[in-house]
C-alpha cells in the first residue's frame, strides 16, 4: 500500500495516543528516582525515596503478595473444576452458576464490598483479618479464571480425549489430572497471571474492606498520594509497576503464542 499523507497523519495520531499512555509512566518512574522533582533531573538520581517507601510501606507489599498468591491458589482449586463442570454440563443449574460467576465482573467493586461488610462486618475477627480482603479478591477474580479455562476447554474436543482415556480404564481423577488439566494448561496459566495482576492492583473493593492493619499496596498508594510528597508517591508507584510489569509481559508473551497455532 502506498504511504500517503493519511498514513503519516494516522501514525502521528497513534504515536500521540501512545505517548499519552506511556509518558506518565515514565514521568513517575523518573520522579521516583530524582532527588528533587521540582528542581528536575539535574538534582541527581537517588534511591532515597524507594528506601523510604520500603521502610514505611513494605508490610503492604508483603500483604499484597500474600493475598495475590492465596487468591490464585483458591481460584485454582475452585475455578478449574468449575470451568470443567460448566464445559461438560448444560443444565439450568450450570446456567445459573455461569450467571453468578459473571455478575461480579459487572457489579462495581464498591457494591460487592458493601454487601460483604453488611453480611460479615459483624464478625469482628473475620473483619479484622486479611482473609476478609481475600474473599473480596476471590469473588472479583474468579470469573476471569473460570472464563479463561472455559475458553480453552471449549476450543478443544476434550470429550473425545476423556472418552479415550476412560476406555483405557482411567478413573475420573486420573482423567481430570492427566487429561483435562494438561490440555487446558494455557488457559490455567493465563488465568493465573490475570488473577495475580488483578489482585495486586485491586483498589475499589479493597479500599472499603481494608482495616488500618490490613493495608494492601494499592491502598497504601492511595494513602501516599493523599499525604506524601510527589517523589515518595512516585517511588511507591515505581515499586508497584515493578511488581506487575513482569506479569503483564508474561501474559503478552502467552497471548501471542496460541494465535500462531490457531
Amino acid at each position: 500500500m502506498k504511504k500517503g499523507v493519511f498514513f503519516y497523519l494516522q501514525l502521528a495520531f497513534t504515536l500521540l495516543i501512545c505517548a499519552f499512555l506511556i509518558v506518565p509512566v515514565f514521568m513517575s518512574i523518573t520522579a521516583g528516582l530524582t532527588n528533587n522533582y521540582f528542581v528536575g533531573i539535574k538534582s541527581g538520581l537517588t534511591f532515597r525515596w524507594v528506601e523510604q517507601v520500603w521502610d514505611m510501606y513494605s508490610n503492604t507489599i508483603w500483604l499484597t503478595m500474600k493475598i495475590a498468591l492465596v487468591t490464585t491458589l483458591v481460584n485454582l482449586c475452585v475455578g478449574v473444576p468449575c470451568a470443567y463442570y460448566l464445559a461438560r454440563t448444560r443444565s439450568k443449574l450450570s446456567a445459573f452458576l455461569d450467571e453468578c460467576l459473571t455478575l461480579p465482573i459487572a457489579i462495581p467493586g464498591m457494591a460487592i464490598a458493601l454487601g460483604l461488610i453488611s453480611v460479615y462486618g459483624g464478625i469482628t475477627e473475620f473483619r479484622m483479618s486479611w482473609s476478609f480482603i481475600l474473599v473480596g479478591h476471590v469473588i472479583f477474580t474468579l470469573p476471569f479464571m473460570v472464563k479463561s479455562v472455559l475458553a480453552v476447554l471449549q476450543s478443544i474436543n476434550f470429550r473425545v480425549l476423556e472418552e479415550g482415556a476412560a476406555s483405557l480404564g482411567a478413573s475420573f481423577w486420573q482423567r481430570f489430572f492427566h487429561v483435562i488439566v494438561p490440555n487446558c494448561k494455557t488457559g490455567i496459566v493465563s488465568g493465573i497471571l490475570m488473577t495475580l495482576t488483578l489482585s495486586a492492583g485491586e483498589f475499589n473493593l479493597t479500599w472499603m474492606l481494608h482495616t488500618p492493619l490490613t493495608k494492601t499496596l494499592p491502598v497504601g498508594l492511595a494513602d501516599s498520594y493523599a499525604s506524601m510528597r510527589l517523589e515518595v508517591s512516585s517511588a511507591y508507584t515505581l515499586i508497584f509497576l515493578g511488581m506487575i510489569l513482569p506479569l503483564l509481559i508474561a501474559a503478552q508473551f502467552l497471548n501471542r503464542r496460541p494465535k500462531r497455532s490457531a
Partner: protein
Amino acid sequence: MIPALVVSLAFFLLPMAKLVWLSFAKQHGISYWYILTKPMYLSSLWSTFWLSTVVTLASLIIATIVGLFLTRHDFKGKSILVAMLSFPLVFPGVVIGFFVIMLAGRQGLLAELSLALTDERWTLAYSISGLFIGYLYFSIPRVVLTVMGAAEKLDDNLIEAGRSLGANRWQLLRDVTLPALTPGLISSGSICFATSMGAFGTAFTLATNLNVLPMTIYTEFTLNANFAMAAALSLILGFITWVCLTIARRQGGSSLGMGG
C-alpha cells in the same frame, strides 16, 4: 463445582441479597425516593452519566482511528506500540489518577508547558476534566484492542470490491468498514461506559469533592453512615453496569470490565 457454588453463594449472592434488603428495609425504600427527588443525588447520577457517555464516545473515535491504523499497516516497532497500548488495561484506578496528576496536576507536564508558553499554570487534574483524562486513559486500551480484533476479521475483499466500484476513502470507511466494526464498537463501548460509571479509584485520587456516583456512595457510607442510601445507590450503579455488560455480551464481546 460444589465449592464454586458455595463460594459464590456465600460471598456474592448473600451479600447482594442483603444489600437489596437493606436498601428497602429503611422506611420501605425511602432511599430510592430520595435519589429521585433530591438534587444532590440526581445531579451526581447525571454528571456521572454524561461524563461516561462523553468518555465512551471520545475513546470510540480515538480507538477506531488507532485500531484501524495498527491493523492495516505493518511497520517496525508496531508490536511495541501495541504492547504499550495494552499495558494500561490492568493499571488500577488510583495509579491512573496519579498519572493524571503527573500529566495535568500542579507540577504536571501540562502546567510546565503552559507556564513556558503563556506564563500561566494550567491545572486540569482536580476537576471534571481531570476525571475525563483519567477515564480516557483506561478506556482507550480496551476499545483499541477490541477494534483491532474486529478489524483483523474484516474481509479485505469487501474493501477491494468497494474500491473497484469507485468508492473513495470516506465512502469505504462509512459503508464498509464501520458497519463491519459496529458489533465490536457497541460491545467495547458499553464495557467502557460501565467501567467509567463505576470508576472509584481515579475519582478518589483526583478529588474527594467531585460529585460522581462512586464518590457519592463512598461519602454516604463513610461520612454520613447512611448504609441504606449507599446500598441503594450502589445497586442502581450495579444495575446500570450490568445492563451495559449484558449488551456487550449480546454483541459477542469479551468481558474486560475491570479496573477503574
